[in-house]
C-alpha cells in the first residue's frame, strides 16, 4: 500500500533544517567577520585601512581573538553540516545547477535594465546560483586558510603551497572581502524582495515534486 506523502509532508523551499543552518551561519559569519576585523587592526594588511571599534567584536585584540577562535567552531561545524546535508539530500545540485554562462549574462543584462523580478522564489536565477557557489567556495577557503594561519608549522606544506605565511594571511583577508561583498548584495536584495527574507524565516512556498525520494515509494 502506498501513500501520497506529498499530502502529509509538503516540501517547502527552505526546510526547517536549512533555515536553522542559514541563521546559525549568519550569526557565525557576524562573529567571524567582526572579530576578524579586531584582529586585523593589530597589524594591518592595507596601510591606512583600519576598522573602527564600533564595528569590531571585542574591546581589544585578545577578546577579538577569543571570539574568533570560538566562532570558528560554530562556522566550521554548521558549514560542514550544511554541505553534507546539501550533498546528500541533493539540495545543492537542485538549487545551484545547471548554471549556464548565457543565463548569467542575460540576468546581468536584465539587472542592469532594472528588471529584477523574482516571481518564482523556487527557481534561482543564474547570477544567484553563481553568487551562492562563490560564497560557499569562499567559506570553505576561509576555513582552509584560517587553519593554515592558525597552524603554519603543523600544516607547513599547505602554507608553502599557498605561497607562504603572509600570502595565506592576505588570502584569508581577501576571502573575507568576498564574503562581505556577498553579504551586502544578499541583504540588499532580500530587502528589495522581502518575500525572500520571509521565506527564509517561514519556509517559503511549497515545492512541486515528490516529498520523498522515489525509492521510498510514491503513488
Amino acid at each position: 500500500m502506498s501513500i501520497d506523502r506529498t499530502e502529509i509532508a509538503p516540501r517547502r523551499l527552505h526546510p526547517l533544517s536549512v533555515r536553522v543552518m542559514h541563521w546559525t551561519n549568519a550569526a557565525a559569519m557576524f562573529i567571524m567577520i567582526t572579530s576578524g576585523w579586531g584582529i586585523y587592526d593589530d597589524y594591518v594588511i592595507i596601510p591606512g585601512l583600519h576598522f573602527a571599534q564600533a564595528v569590531r567584536l571585542g574591546s581589544w585584540a585578545v577578546p577579538s581573538l577569543l571570539w574568533h577562535f570560538a566562532g570558528m567552531w560554530l562556522l566550521a561545524v554548521n558549514g560542514l553540516a550544511y554541505l553534507l546535508y546539501g550533498v546528500f539530500t541533493g539540495r545543492l545540485r537542485e538549487r545551484m545547477l545547471p548554471i549556464r554562462w548565457r543565463d548569467v549574462l542575460q540576468t546581468v543584462r536584465d539587472t542592469l535594465h532594472l528588471r529584477i523580478e523574482h516571481d518564482d522564489l523556487t527557481v534561482y536565477n543564474a547570477v544567484q546560483k553563481l553568487l551562492y557557489i562563490v560564497v560557499i567556495v569562499a567559506g570553505i577557503s576561509q576555513v582552509v586558510t584560517g587553519l593554515l594561519i592558525w597552524k603554519p608549522v603543523q600544516f607547513s606544506t599547505g602554507v608553502a603551497l599557498l605561497g607562504g605565511f603572509q600570502a595565506v594571511r592576505l588570502e584569508h583577508f581577501l576571502g573575507m572581502t568576498v564574503i562581505v561583498g556577498f553579504v551586502v548584495v544578499h541583504v540588499a536584495l532580500s530587502i528589495l524582495v522581502p518575500r525572500t527574507l520571509w521565506a527564509m524565516l517561514s519556509g517559503g512556498p511549497r515545492l512541486p515534486g515528490p516529498a520523498v525520494r522515489p525509492s521510498e515509494g510514491q503513488t
Partner: protein, 257 residues
C-alpha cells in the same frame, strides 16, 4: 546678607508641626521608591557585569578547549621549516608589553638561573655552565599573534637537554618561566621537549643583545612569539597550571603554530 528670595515674614513654625506626619510619610514613600530604583539600578549593572563576565568565562572555556585541540594537533616529531642565513633579519624585532625605552638590561656576570619544582638538581646555573651544554643552531620563522613575522637565527642548548641534565620530571605537565621583566610564562611538556625548543643565548651567531633577552631567553619554532619569555631568571617544572602574563589577560595558553 539674607537672600533676596527669602520671604521677609516667615510662616508660623506650628504649621509645619501640623503637617509633620504627612511630610514623614512622604519621605518614607520617597525612601522606599528611591530604594527600589536604586535596587533596580544595581540589578541592572549587576546584570550587565554578570553577562559580560559570563561571556568572557564562556570564551575562556572554549579557549581552554582549544588548548586541548592544539595539544592533539601538535606533532612532537614534526620540525618547523628552516631558512637560509641570507634571510635572517638583523637585528631582530623588539616586542614587549612595554616600550624599548623602558628596557632594564640584566647583568650577565651576576645572573643566575634558579630552578624549582619537579627537578632533582636545583642548583642555580651560570651563563658559563649553560655554554657547556651541546649547542644547537636554528633559523626559523618568528610569528607574532598580531600577524607579523620575520626569520631569525637562534642558538643555545635545547630545553630538552637542559631538563634532562638537571633531572627534571619529563612526565610533568608544565614548564614555567620567571623573567627579569616580570613576564611569567609557561608551556606544555611536549613542546618543551621538541628539538626546536631552545634556551637561546645567541642571535645570528652573536651573544644576545639586551633588548632580545640577554643572557637567556626561550625560543620555540612551534609557538607564537608571546610564548617565548626573555631575560629568564627561573625555570620550574610543575603539574599545576602556571598561566602567564598575556594568558592571564585572556590570550590563548597553548599558542601553538
Amino acid at each position: 546678607m539674607k537672600s533676596p528670595f527669602r520671604p521677609t515674614k516667615l510662616p508660623d513654625p506650628r504649621i509645619l508641626d501640623d503637617h509633620r506626619p504627612l511630610i514623614r510619610s512622604l519621605e518614607r514613600r520617597g525612601l522606599i521608591r528611591g530604594g527600589l530604583s536604586l535596587g533596580a539600578l544595581t540589578m541592572l549593572t549587576g546584570c550587565d557585569v554578570d553577562s559580560s563576565a559570563s561571556i568572557d568565562k564562556g570564551l575562556r572555556l572554549i579557549s581552554a578547549w582549544n588548548d586541548r585541540v592544539q595539544g592533539a594537533l601538535f606533532d612532537p616529531t614534526k620540525l618547523a621549516p628552516t631558512y637560509p642565513a641570507s634571510m635572517v633579519l638583523k637585528p631582530p624585532k623588539f616586542n614587549a608589553y612595554y616600550d624599548i625605552t623602558e628596557l632594564k638590561p640584566v647583568d650577565g656576570q651576576n645572573w643566575r638561573l634558579e630552578l624549582a619544582g619537579r627537578i632533582n638538581d636545583k642548583r642555580p646555573w651560570t651563563a658559563e655552565r649553560l655554554a657547556t651544554l651541546p649547542q644547537v643552531d636554528m633559523i626559523i620563522r618568528h610569528i607574532c599573534v598580531e600577524g607579523w613575522d620575520y626569520i631569525g637565527e637562534w642558538s643555545g642548548p635545547t630545553l630538552r637537554s637542559f631538563l634532562e641534565r638537571v633531572g627534571a620530571d619529563l612526565k610533568a605537565k608544565y614548564v614555567a618561566f620567571k623573567t627579569a621583566d616580570d613576564y611569567p610564562s609557561s608551556i606544555d611538556m611536549a613542546t618543551a621537549l621538541h628539538p626546536q625548543t631552545l634556551l637561546a643565548t645567541k642571535y645570528a651567531g652573536e651573544t644576545l643583545a639586551d633588548p632580545f633577552g640577554y643572557p637567556l631567553r626561550l625560543r620555540m619554532a612551534t609557538k607564537l612569539g608571546y610564548k617565548n619569555p626573555k631575560w629568564i631568571t627561573a625555570i620550574e617544572v610543575t603539574n599545576k597550571y602556571p598561566g602567564g602574563y598575556w594568558e592571564n589577560l585572556g590570550e590563548n595558553w597553548f599558542g601553538g603554530i
